[in-house]
């Protein structure tokens, strides 16, 4: 069968479904706006381990196991595990995968990893290459802070444009069989760099990539922003999502009240997170909690989920390079609206 293709968008004919999902978060996120929706809230930042890195690993393992259970499957049914995270050489994902007897392909899209792995997973399932694929990602405040910023106990102030890395992990099981919300199409984004060099202003660095992906998506699918119950960006934060709204308006698209940003909704205003949440876990946990639940109950019928990622490393930042961004989008539709 020939696949229908837009410029950047892949349309799925065989209805790859999200048949299981799971989200696990740390204590701070557990006090946030979405605390009733998460599958699991862990009060220990170390997740029972000796180091934060090991803790993040355990977080992915628990998310994956939870999702498999949620799908009423066993690990034998999972044919491929797609996962990625923020740490160098995506160790959290790879070390988590070491525990299981399933093929593993690491993906890296910085904070866009959730959308990227969902899009890739849906392609593989839709193409008939795999029947069931697991997608996961995670981020941990303390591991990210150690790697990208300053030691945890350093007494410095966070710049006002900075964001708070979410401690959390989300996992999805995509399958051609079973029931659940359907992934109908995926738009892969191009890397965009508008010359932002401030590593504490990720929202501004990623907003252009988000704009390109959204426009490509609307053109390819011949839809308008109003056609979706929810347009969800990953972790642009307050500043980044305001910029995205401006950029889209410039190009003739008006993002209305149905546009929300995961980074802004996950924490409460008084949680001292400045511009909001960020990290792979931000979009992953929001998608795998409130969004999928509302898709299943039918409150949302059609959601455009777009996660954004800033593709920098500490080295590139120290060498004065600007921060390139990327954004991938998937459309998820509730099963009931057929």
């Amino acid at each position: 069968m020939k696949r229908e293709l837009g410029q950047q968008t892949v349309f799925f004919k065989n209805k790859p479904k999200i048949i299981g999902h799971y989200s696990i978060v740390g204590p701070k996120e557990g006090k946030g706006n979405l605390r009733e929706y998460f599958s699991e809230i862990e009060q220990d930042d170390f997740f029972g381990q000796k180091t934060y890195e090991k803790g993040e690993r355990v977080m992915i393992e628990r998310a994956l196991e939870g999702a498999v259970k949620d799908a009423n499957l066993s690990f034998d049914d999972i044919k491929l595990f797609l996962s990625g995270d923020l740490l160098n050489q995506i160790i959290s994902s790879s070390y988590a995968a070491r525990k299981y007897d399933i093929p593993y392909a690491g993906v890296f899209g910085a904070c866009s990893t959730m959308a990227e792995s969902l899009a890739l997973g849906a392609c593989l399932v839709d193409g008939g290459h795999f029947e069931t694929v697991a997608c996961a990602t995670s981020s941990h405040f303390s591991t990210a802070e150690r790697q990208f910023r300053t030691p945890l106990e350093l007494g410095s102030q966070r710049p006002p444009t900075s964001q708070w890395t979410v401690t959390g992990s989300g996992a999805d099981i995509i399958s051609s069989k079973g029931s659940g919300p359907i992934i109908t199409c995926a738009t892969f984004g191009k890397v965009a760099d508008f010359g932002i060099t401030d590593v504490n202003n990720m929202g501004a660095a990623m907003a252009p990539a988000a704009m390109y992906t959204l426009i490509a998506h609307f053109k390819d699918t011949k839809t308008k922003p109003e056609d979706y119950d929810l347009i969800l960006s990953g972790d642009l934060g307050k500043l980044g999502s305001e910029i995205l709204i401006d950029l889209m308006e410039d190009k003739g698209y008006k993002l209305g009240l149905n546009y929300k940003d995961c980074g802004q909704i996950i924490f409460k205003r008084n949680q001292n997170v400045l511009m909001g949440g960020s990290g792979c876990g931000c979009s992953a946990t929001v998608l795998n909690s409130i969004v999928l639940k509302k898709l299943i109950t039918g409150e949302y019928k059609r959601v455009l989920f777009m996660a954004t990622g800033a593709l920098l490393s500490t080295l590139s930042a120290q060498q004065g390079e600007s921060v390139p961004g990327v954004a991938h989008a998937v459309v998820i539709e509730g099963e009931k609206n057929e």
């Binding site: 740390g26 701070k28 934060y52 303390s142 945890l152 350093l154 410095s156 401690t167 401030d198 001292n272």
Partner: protein
């Protein structure tokens, strides 16, 4: 014992130096390391041009506790050692004058590093 107004001067001068530091943090988005380097170099400069001792007479802890004092004693050590032992003083003077502070910082960091564990920010 000093008169009480000395403490007022210390408070005002020390506070002002930190105030200037905070302006640098806000205006230039400087990181901790850059702030520290800037103020150490300022201290070295003040000592080199001979202004530091006069300021120190007046401000006391107001300028000795900020890291400016650290830079100043580096420079002062170098200057004195050059006067007393010539070329060798260039190499030995600075660090030996500050050896106490550096060694203390390293030692306490090592001890507390062994004892304690880094905690996630809870703000």
């Amino acid at each position: 014992m000093n008169d009480w107004y000395v403490y007022l001067i210390v408070f005002l001068t020390g506070g002002t130096i930190c105030f200037i530091g905070q302006i640098l943090v806000i205006k230039t988005k400087m990181t901790t390391a850059r702030i520290l380097v800037t103020f150490v170099l300022l201290g070295v400069f003040l000592q080199a041009v001979g202004l530091f001792d006069a300021i120190s007479q007046f401000c006391k802890a107001g300028i000795n506790v900020p890291i400016i004092g650290f830079g100043a004693s580096l420079a002062k050590g170098a200057i004195n050692a050059v006067k007393s032992s010539g070329i060798l003083g260039i190499f030995t003077g600075g660090l030996s004058a500050c050896a106490g502070g550096i060694a203390a910082a390293i030692f306490f960091a090592f001890i507390f590093g062994i004892i304690f564990k880094a905690k996630t920010k809870k703000m």
